[in-house]
Amino acid sequence: MWPLTKAWYGDRVADDYAPASIDHLQRLLDSAGLTSPFWRLTEDGSAV
């Protein structure tokens, strides 16, 4: 949970923050082992 949280939110306050792409966020969830349909960020899972 903590590594995912740092990767997901670590740059949120940075002045040069730029929103991450859906693909990138999906990879973060996948890397944390959150790979079931519950964790798909799009309806058809096409983000991955």
Partner: protein, 146 residues
């Protein structure tokens, strides 16, 4: 001040004070209430902030992971304290601030106080669970409920 400048201002203010600027202050900064409502509405639509009411842009409810008002999750660090929207956001605030902090909240199942802190940039314990009730693809359908 463009939309991203306003976003930076909001997040800097939250990081330093735990509070968001008021609508009136934002209106003064961006040239008036019409301009403020437009800019805040666009930031809301881009999921960069969450307004109390998208149809009548005014005060800011959230700038994830920060909450603008008291919640059941408080993050306390050496430089200040912040309200979080949920359990995950309570972890996310120290991550975003790159700061050690203590989390003040209660476990959902027992109502007992949690004993969680970030020390030396690491979570003090991995015991416990963060419960996600809403599937990820639905998080932004109603982010307040999420």
């Amino acid at each position: 001040m463009d939309d991203l400048d306003l976003r930076r201002l909001i997040y800097r203010r939250l990081a330093h004070t735990g509070e968001v600027p008021s609508f009136d202050e934002i209106a003064d900064l961006v040239g008036g209430p019409v301009e403020a409502a437009s800019s805040l509405g666009r930031l809301h639509d881009r999921h960069m902030i969450v307004l109390d009411d998208r149809d009548d842009p005014g005060e800011i409810a959230m700038a994830l992971p920060f909450a603008s008002r008291p919640t059941g999750h408080r993050v306390v660090g050496s430089a200040g304290s912040w309200w979080a929207n949920c359990a995950w956001d309570a972890l996310a605030i120290p991550a975003a601030l790159d700061a050690d902090a203590r989390i003040e909240a209660t476990w959902l199942d027992t109502d007992e106080p949690v004993d969680l802190s970030i020390e030396g940039g690491e979570l003090s314990t991995t015991d416990g669970w963060v419960h996600f009730a809403v599937p990820a693809r639905r998080w932004w359908d109603d982010i307040v409920e999420t």
